[in-house]
């Protein structure tokens, strides 16, 4: 896992609270056994009408093409545990999300795949959104080491749990290797703990 210290790129504003995982990736796009190609399903029903014609949506707006940082409001990613949601965002080319708050399962799923979600104060998010809407070419610098977002001569503090921040900086955000290091203790728990249909362990 490569460390993630700084993300530079343009922003894409997605205003609105409580944007749910069904909007991020409609359920019919979950009918797949891989995550490949999911970037095209991102916000599909908001981007295209029922005949598949593009609608007015920031993701269809050529001014935001190539943006790498999503800007959202509160409660982003509420709803299901589908990892397809952060996977689709990642595969559509985004490396970070700046928002007021995130749903818990979404945040965890995003973190494990190296999609950085940071919180910012509502007034900072509003200012950032307004700036990017007015000047889509604005370069944003998300500096995880400093815990701040810099753009257009402005610096806004961003927040994420300290251990998560360190995990990004040190490239430890996928925990599997670490989990595998304690298998002796896990086996011991497995021997002791009750398991369905296994007698003698209660």
């Amino acid at each position: 896992m490569p460390p993630i210290k700084e993300i530079r790129g343009r922003g894409l504003p997605l205003p609105g609270d409580d944007i749910d995982t069904d909007r991020i990736v409609p359920a019919r796009f979950l009918k797949t056994v891989t995550f490949d190609g999911l970037g095209d399903a991102l916000f599909y029903d908001e981007r295209y009408d029922e005949e598949g014609r593009p609608k007015d949506h920031p993701l269809n707006d050529p001014r935001y093409r190539g943006a790498e940082i999503l800007i959202v409001n509160a409660g982003f990613g509420t709803g299901s545990s589908r990892e397809h949601a952060p996977q689709a965002i990642r595969r559509a080319g985004f490396r970070a999300i700046v928002g007021e708050s995130f749903a818990e399962i979404f945040f965890g799923n995003a973190t494990q795949i190296g999609l950085v979600c940071v919180r910012a104060a509502p007034e900072d998010v509003a200012h950032l959104m307004a700036t990017v809407m007015e000047r889509p070419e604005t370069e944003l610098v998300l500096d995880l080491a400093a815990g701040e977002l810099r753009y257009a001569g402005r610096t806004a503090p961003v927040f994420l749990p300290e251990p998560v921040r360190e995990a990004f900086l040190e490239g430890r955000y996928d925990p599997l290797e670490v989990l595998l290091n304690a298998m002796d203790r896990v086996r011991e728990l497995d021997r002791r703990r009750a398991a369905p249909g296994k007698p003698g362990l209660y």
């Binding site: 909007r23 029903d45 990892e83 996928d174 989990l179 003698g200």
Partner: protein
């Protein structure tokens, strides 16, 4: 100072603290299904890993199975491919699988409890946010993403942050026609869809204590709609009576030891909580949603809210919801015409849900023009419903009686809304497009309200349609 059940179960499963501050948590029971597992098995293979403890993972197929014609291959080749992938993966790793021909297939959150896989004090993980359902047994149960499904397959553990605990007491009595579904919709409206972020919800109080396990499951199921990844009830005599004799529940001497251990897991009377909320049962009405998330709800005999009555910063979201739902501020909910009635899902697809509705539906007919679906949550529920004559009541009333699966809750199968149809649904999510049509509209409601609305052809108050008075409707 005493401890909460959450603390006790957490401590019993903590393997160690991780360098990133999270806890490595042992998972007693891992449930998998066809949607969120194939990529996890692929990741496992990529790393050359095997399933570490195959006896702790159980699989079924629910999201993509058609409920009308189950002959294989399914009409939808993508659905068939997902089922085949699951079959291949469980065979390769030697996992128990409740397949379509097992007689035990069903929605994962219906069959876990039904088979006795779900037990008090367990940690339970599944790649599905409604895993919170299993918390009704005093388990610590939560949804995980696919990368974490990989972690559980490979190590039987996940990296987790400890949650705060909010005790929600529902005291007093419920009025006639008010069910568990109305209780949880009321709780979510009261505390908000983000109110539970960072918390586990402990449900308690006189109303919860009197509830059956299936009613408790309805409430725990929707914890996640209130932002709480985990919701649970303390195990009690009702819990033990439900579990006794089930296929995977402990037997004989194990049973007695288990019950003693389970009793000790309940939160201590002097446990301290991060927050406490009390709700009066009498204050809860049959509740329906009018918006595009489960917190946007009102009493069924009420009106669509006026955005002007809300703080300015909330107005745009409410206006957007009403536009999507094609509802007018101030409009009576009982004037809203219904196209589809859906009874089923991991929230309300259990035998007691169907039983309760059948009792009131007998002798009535679904309104002409309404498409009504009754979808049992599992093959066991379907069998029992046939034996008890419940299925026949639904058929006679004009419901389509279907085979078990997730069905129209999320439309990963042929059951879906068309165009801007409005469905009154016993499921758990009313997000835009949730039921399969990008303009489809969902009104969440209790099974009784779904049935009443099917009969009336509009959103209807079950107390009126079914003449409920006096006794607790769910008794």
């Amino acid at each position: 100072m005493g401890k909460t059940l959450y603390q006790k179960v957490w401590e019993a499963h903590a393997v160690r603290e991780l360098p990133d501050g999270r806890t490595q948590l042992f998972i007693d029971l891992h449930l998998i299904h066809e949607v969120t597992s194939p990529q996890a098995f692929a990741m496992l293979k990529e790393r050359g890993l095997k399933v570490a403890f195959p006896h702790r993972t159980f699989a079924t197929v629910d999201h993509i199975v058609p409920t009308h014609d189950r002959r294989e291959p399914f009409e939808d080749p993508l659905a068939q491919a997902m089922l085949e992938a699951l079959r291949k993966n469980v065979a390769e790793h030697g996992l128990a699988f409740f397949d379509l021909d097992s007689g035990r297939q069903g929605i994962v959150h219906v069959i876990g409890p039904e088979l006795g896989l779900t037990q008090p004090g367990f940690t339970i993980a599944c790649g599905d946010s409604h895993t919170s359902t299993h918390g009704a047994f005093g388990a610590l149960a939560f949804g995980i993403g696919t990368t974490q499904v990989r972690d559980v397959l490979a190590t039987q553990t996940v990296a987790m942050n400890r949650l705060k605990v909010r005790r929600i007491e529902v005291n007093g009595r419920l009025a006639p026609g008010v069910t568990a579904k109305d209780v949880i919709l009321h709780i979510i409206r009261t505390l908000g869809v983000k109110g539970g972020i960072g918390y586990a919800y402990e449900y308690a109080g006189e109303v919860i204590d009197r509830m059956s396990m299936e009613e408790r499951m309805t409430i725990a199921n929707m914890s996640v709609e209130g932002g709480a990844r985990v919701g649970y009830m303390n195990p009690d005599a009702t819990t033990f009576a439900y579990l006794e004799g089930r296929r995977y529940a402990p037997q004989g001497a194990d049973w007695d030891r288990a019950v003693a251990a389970w009793r000790a897991l309940a939160s201590d009377p002097d446990a301290s909580y991060d927050d406490r909320v009390e709700i009066r049962g009498e204050a809860i009405a049959p509740t329906v949603t009018w918006g595009v998330h489960p917190g946007q709800s009102a009493p069924v005999d009420g009106r669509v809210p006026d955005p002007a009555a809300f703080p300015e910063e909330e107005r745009p979201q409410i206006e957007d919801a009403l536009r999507y739902m094609k509802l007018r501020p101030g409009q009576r909910l009982s004037e809203v015409k219904v196209d589809v009635a859906f009874l089923g899902s991991c929230t309300n697809g259990r035998l007691s849900d169907l039983r309760l509705v059948a009792r009131h539906l007998k002798g009535r007919r679904v309104k002409k023009g309404v498409r009504a679906l009754a979808v049992p949550g599992s093959q066991a529920v379907a069998r029992a419903a046939e034996e008890e004559g419940i299925a026949e009541v639904f058929r006679q009333a004009g419901f389509e009686w279907r085979a078990p699966g997730c069905s129209m809750c999320l439309a990963m199968n042929p059951d879906r809304l068309v165009g801007d149809e409005l469905a009154v649904s016993s499921s758990n999510r009313n997000y835009k497009g949730r039921q399969g049509s990008p303009t489809g509209r969902t009104v969440l409601a209790s099974p009784l309200t779904v049935a009443a609305s099917a009969v009336a052809g509009r959103i209807a108050d079950p107390r009126e349609v079914f003449d409920l008075g006096g006794a607790h409707a769910a008794d």
